[in-house]
């Protein structure tokens, strides 16, 4: 009797050792290869003065002091600051309306506000061309055509809106009703209550949103390439240097410059967070907005206006993809969807994108969730855990464009045995997972931290192997979070272009890259069609997963309800 138990125990023990220690080392290896080394490769490339590559210290000095660079940098800063200054207040009002007022139809508005996440950043640009270009539907409203500064700003505003919104939504969702009661009992006006309660609690999120929008804008080239005209920005220059002129060193130098604002805002944000700490106590009471007709009417008007703009832009993109020959033949047809006959990659690109998004979502969510689990829930390997935690926060501070450049430099290195992956689907998947790692992992960590800290200890005391416990208890409980990660990764992979543009090969061309190529070749209708297709795919998959998540929740309602004894 004793023997079989001992054998069973030792088998479980070995299984766990492989699961925990092996899992962590595997995860570390992946992070080093997928995040750390490519980043180091950028610096290496930027400072090595190989002939014809435009890198090295001399080239850096020349680049940084050139009038052209100053012009590009000035443009980039002007655009990014303008976009952030426009988006953050709008998103704040929108988030405030959703979280702190009683306007009707919140689910609809929230759904609409997420539309820009479902399509590549070129789509708003394309829609703007059809709306405000020289042949645009609403051309008469503007004195000049859209190409240039205002085109980029408008496109980026639409593209970055949901990103800012999500940060502000979660900041405004945490409100302690007791503070408002205290404020109103002291006779504070709503404006005063906002200044003394709401604003201090959300200030930091506003800063974070501002930084995020700034970084997203300064590193995006999807919008500038479509509506920038001759108004050029740094991100586009990096893209042109690497793809157009194959000057990797120059690309690396610009990549480093683009890394600065992201690193800066990441550092300041982390510093602020540490200084202020968490102002919300666990005993905070959920804030219930009181009815106010005037306030709700005002906010509803704002929300309606923003949603109308979003609908107009996305509706225009879809509509233009169906028009036979803009602007001379407005009859509808599916001609633009016949991708096989046009440049860009055709249906292969779309199929590749589906494959890439599926692999990214499936492999990524399994890897990220398991990695987060091992980091959060296992004892031992303290230094390893620390290294993992730090590395997994790096992608947050690295724009996709820079990460993509790093991949080019690292995987295209002479003598790198991993070179076989260059241009392969596997590398695109790895890069996309790495790019979106931090957000997904934060979702996983939040979900895991809500679980009883003693679950694992209880399982171990019952002689159950940890991997079995993980599959049998942890995963089922965290299924909604897991589906959320799945959706996030799928949609991101479907729409990403910033890193992928440097990594695809003719076999692995992606839909979002095809959009760029078609637009480049002047096939704006085809670009609109492919963007719309991406939009529909991301949207449908999101709805499907939301539905699956609701179903899973309903089926598990028996055990998810709150215990009467607790």
């Amino acid at each position: 009797m004793a023997l079989p138990i001992a054998r069973q125990v030792s088998r479980a023990e070995w299984g766990d050792r492989i699961f925990v220690v092996g899992g962590k080392w595997l995860w570390l290896g992946l992070l080093v290869v997928a995040v750390l080394l490519p980043l180091l490769a950028i610096f290496w490339r930027g400072f090595s003065s190989e002939a014809g590559q435009g890198g090295g210290l001399a080239a850096a000095r020349e680049l940084l002091t050139s009038a052209n660079f100053h012009w590009l940098l000035g443009n980039s800063l002007k655009v990014s600051l303008s976009v952030a200054a426009i988006v953050v207040p709008l998103a704040y009002l929108f988030a405030y309306a959703l979280q702190r007022t009683l306007i009707p139809g919140k689910t609809v508005w929230r759904g609409l506000s997420l539309l820009p996440l479902m399509a590549p950043s070129m789509l708003p640009g394309i829609a703007l061309v059809y709306l405000f270009g020289n042949q645009g539907l609403l051309r008469g409203l503007l004195s000049d055509n859209i190409y240039g500064f205002w085109g980029i700003v408008l496109g980026e505003v639409i593209y970055t809106f949901p990103h800012a919104l999500m940060i502000l939504l979660s900041a405004l969702s945490l409100a302690d009703a007791r503070l408002f009661d205290a404020a109103s009992s002291m006779g504070a006006s709503p404006a005063r209550a906002f200044r003394s309660v709401t604003w201090p609690a959300t200030r930091q999120a506003v800063f974070a949103a501002f930084c995020l929008v700034f970084t997203l804008t300064i590193t995006d080239f999807g919008v500038p390439v479509v509506v920038g005209g001759d108004y050029q920005v740094l991100a586009l220059e990096a893209y042109k240097a690497v793809v157009g002129q194959q000057q990797f060193g120059r690309g690396a130098l610009i990549g480093m410059v683009l890394l600065l604002p992201a690193l800066f805002s990441f550092g300041v944000d982390a510093w602020l967070r540490r200084r202020h700490g968490d102002s919300m106590s666990g005993r905070a009471q959920v804030f219930q907005p009181s009815p106010s007709r005037l306030r709700d009417a005002c906010y509803l008007a704002i929300v309606l206006l923003i949603c109308a703009v979003l609908l107009l832009v996305f509706g225009m993109a879809v509509y233009s993809s169906l028009v036979k020959f803009w602007p001379y033949n407005l009859s509808l047809s599916l001609n633009h969807y016949q991708f096989e006959d046009t440049a860009g990659g055709g249906w292969l690109a779309y199929r590749n994108s589906l494959t890439m998004a599926l692999c990214t979502a499936l492999i990524g969510s399994v890897l990220i969730f398991t990695g987060a689990y091992l980091m959060e829930k296992t004892q031992g390997q303290k230094n390893l855990n620390l290294a993992l935690r730090m590395l997994s926060f790096v992608p947050m501070a690295v724009p996709g464009l820079v990460l993509g450049l790093g991949y080019v430099f690292f995987f295209n290195l002479n003598g790198n045995p991993l070179h076989v992956f260059y241009g392969s689907m596997a590398l695109l998947v790895v890069c996309t997972i790495a790019h979106y790692l931090t957000t997904a992992q934060m979702t996983a960590t939040t979900a895991l931290r809500q679980l009883d800290a003693e679950f694992e200890a209880a399982a171990l005391s019952l002689k159950a192997p940890l991997y079995r416990h993980y599959l049998r208890v942890t995963v089922p409980i965290c299924l909604p979070a897991l589906l959320d990660i799945l959706r996030y990764l799928f949609v991101s992979a479907m729409t990403t272009v910033s890193a992928a543009i440097f990594l695809y090969s003719p076999d692995t061309i992606l839909a979002a890259v095809a959009v760029l190529n078609m637009d480049d070749a002047g096939n704006v209708g085809g670009a609109a069609a492919m963007s719309s297709l991406i939009l529909f795919t991301s949207g449908s998959v999101s709805l499907l997963l939301a539905w699956a998540s609701r179903g899973a929740l309903r089926r598990s309602q028996a055990w998810r309800q709150i215990a009467p004894g607790q």
Binding site: Q135, F325, W326
Partner: protein
């Protein structure tokens, strides 16, 4: 954990190892995407054991890519790239001199002078102005007939042209203006033209497409998209400026050190064959093999006579310095930089 791992491994293997029995030939090209399907089908029908893998981009990008990969060439063969670009690769010793089977049928102006030649021509494409008649009427624009006309103030902001750094068409325009007007007047002309340019774009066909949709009424482009768009019903006039048309030879060349040299040469044979010329003639009015081309109804009969005398050696030798000068003058179209 183990199952996902196995899955990852399986997926990685599946993606990275494409085991095909056929020879897979990596072909770099700057041809218009619409043409690729027919060409590929015809070649693979003639050579069933070979499969073409296209890498397509605009002329400047393909040239830069080939140069960047000089030490470790990824391409086996180039099918459809500007001869001036191939000449640069030849200067770098990257091309495999090879005489395709039907070399004797190729006109002597349409192949590399060396024997065996480094590159062999396919067809000729030439500069064209696409002019949107509907927009012209709406905006009261007169129809330009010469390159010089394009500098008239009435066209301010109405003209699009390709960026010569990335587009072969853009480069042939610049090189032709410098050759026909002389270097000094050539740059002066471009300075004046610059004042009227609404946008520089990355591909040679985009200006014509933008003209066709009326986004910008005048596009400096080449005849292939002009003809195609007109056939689709775009309200375009195809203008061949009276000073003469800059032009380029689209050519084919085998890359030195290709691991599929035999297959690559088969493609070079095919590209110079009468069968291929039959395909080219659907798209181009002037072919490397004389006597096969048919006149295109959208183009005048004396089209070939309107081409300028083009010095490809001069163009390819000076390509870098011309592009550097152009970038300095016009890239980053802004008052601040343009003034320098």
């Amino acid at each position: 954990m183990f199952k996902p791992l196995a899955l990852v491994a399986a997926v990685l293997t599946a993606f990275s190892l494409n085991a095909f029995a056929k020879t897979e030939l990596t072909v770099y090209t700057a041809l218009e995407a619409e043409q690729l399907k027919t060409y590929k089908k015809a070649f693979e029908q003639a050579n069933p054991d070979i499969e073409i893998k296209w890498v397509r981009d605009s002329t400047g990008i393909i040239t830069a890519k080939l140069l960047a990969e000089k030490d470790r060439p990824q391409a086996d063969v180039v099918w459809g790239l500007a001869a001036s670009s191939l000449a640069i690769l030849d200067q770098q010793g990257m091309l495999d001199n090879y005489a395709p089977k039907d070399l004797d049928k190729i006109g002597k102006n349409y192949r590399d002078a060396a024997n065996p030649p480094a590159w062999v021509g396919m067809d000729v494409w030439a500069a064209t102005i696409c002019f949107n008649t509907v927009e012209a009427q709406k905006q009261g624009l007169t129809k330009p007939v010469s390159w010089q006309d394009l500098t008239k103030p009435e066209y301010k902001g109405k003209i699009v042209m390709p960026n010569p750094a990335s587009s072969g068409t853009g480069f042939l325009d610049v090189s032709a203006w410098l050759q026909t007007f002389g270097e000094k007047q050539g740059w002066q002309y471009m300075d004046d033209l610059h004042q009227n340019i609404g946008q520089y774009v990355h591909s040679g066909s985009k200006p014509c497409k933008l003209a066709a949709s009326g986004e910008f009424p005048i596009g400096i482009s080449f005849e292939y998209p002009a003809v195609q768009l007109k056939r689709q019903g775009a309200p375009l006039d195809i203008i061949l400026p009276k000073e003469g048309l800059g032009w380029e030879i689209e050519a084919t060349s085998v890359i030195k050190g290709s691991s599929h040299a035999d297959a690559a040469r088969k493609l070079a044979d095919f590209s110079a064959s009468p069968a291929a010329m039959e395909l080219y003639k659907e798209n181009f009015a002037v072919l490397a093999q004389p006597g096969i081309a048919k006149p295109q109804t959208e183009l005048p009969a004396d089209y070939e006579q309107r081409l300028i005398k083009n010095d490809f050696v001069w163009a390819s030798r000076n390509r870098d310095s011309i592009l550097a000068e152009w970038r300095k003058r016009y890239d980053g179209k802004s008052e601040k930089v343009a003034g320098q």
